[in-house]
């Protein structure tokens, strides 16, 4: 799939890395160059410096050709605006917006936007963990732990100085 992500924070960049690994073609837009540092090293994700709610920027990165669009900045309103632009103006079929206010998320979901709230997801997952509810979140939890082990492993490998690597002998 050809996927466009707006917002290269921790969530956006991690997702971009996962999708890239899975063989998708990923472009990520952020207005802060430093945020691209969140992308995993050596990924093939295309980065674009610009404001992801600006029509011209979205046109420049080829929004009219994407299969899916995800707005994952740290601002609910910017995400809701960007996803609506993708869906209503550029006709992107699958447009997602991160909206951490669960009430706003529901209102926009009722308007046909795919919104999801970190607040609700995390709260339900934590509750399920505490109550040892195996139905909710078991798969998610297993995959999360695997991903985090992998990321931490890559980080340690990249950061290891040659001397430490030599210690393996």
């Amino acid at each position: 799939m050809n996927i466009l992500i707006v917002g290269s924070g921790r969530v956006g960049a991690t997702l971009a890395g996962l999708l890239d690994d899975a063989g998708h073609q990923v472009t990520i837009v952020d207005r802060d160059r430093a945020s691209f540092a969140h992308l995993p090293a050596g990924s093939n994700v295309t980065t674009f410096l610009g404001n992801g709610i600006d029509l011209d920027v979205l046109r420049q990165v080829g929004i009219d050709k994407v299969d899916a669009f995800l707005a994952l900045t740290d601002g609910d309103n910017r995400n809701l605006m960007a996803a609506q632009v993708a869906k209503e103006i550029f006709g992107v079929k699958r447009a997602f917006a991160k909206c951490n206010d669960p009430i706003r998320a529901e209102i926009y979901r009722a308007k046909g936007l795919a919104t999801f709230s970190r607040t609700s997801i995390l709260a339900l997952l934590l509750k399920a963990m505490l109550e040892q509810d195996p139905e909710v979140g078991e798969v998610l939890l297993r995959q999360t732990l695997a991903l985090e082990r992998k990321l931490a492993g890559e980080e340690a490998r990249d950061a290891a100085p040659p001397a430490a690597a030599a210690g393996e002998r």
Partner: protein, 219 residues
Amino acid sequence: MYVIVAGGGDIGFHLAKGLIEAGHEVMVIEQDRHRAQWIEEQLGSVVLNAPADEGRYQLEAGCQRADAVIAVTGEDAKNLVICQLARHNCGPHGRVIARVTDPKNEILFKALGIDETVSSTRVLMNIIEQELPTGGFLPLMPLTGSHLEIIEAEIAPGTPSVGKAVRSVGLPAGSLIGGIVRGGQLLSGTGDAVLQVGDRVIVFAPTAIEAEVRSRLYG
């Protein structure tokens, strides 16, 4: 009238003050506690210290009975969401008005259901453009799902297209004159229509050749 002003910055404050002086009932929704206190000291008990982009505070401010909700924060995306939530929460008679900073967002907001927008940038641009003796060349809007846009070119004295028929202006291939506005009337932009000073020509063209359209029509 009962008016809810979302955002108590400089614009929101002076708007609220003016409305109160004109005898209207006003509620300002302002997120910052210090700012909200300051406005209350200036204008009395007309402030709700809360984020205006959360529906429950709009309801608390009484938006079901409001005649208008005006979003005047400094952030276009926030104003859009405030207005869309207000549209959702308000009674059917309530007007919803958004301030936009990026003039492009006026068209965008319309497409997303917010018809009434005010762009101070656009207002200032219009004033300046009216002062210029040379008319204007104004890309109006992009066309959805294409690389095309709509351009308005005002034919000014001394521009290359004055007195020429449309077919001899030499517009680049792929562009099309959709109409000519002359003295408030719409004329068709057929090949033998002759362009006059003061005409506003509406052109459809690929964004990529905007510069060429400009040089032919406007110099």
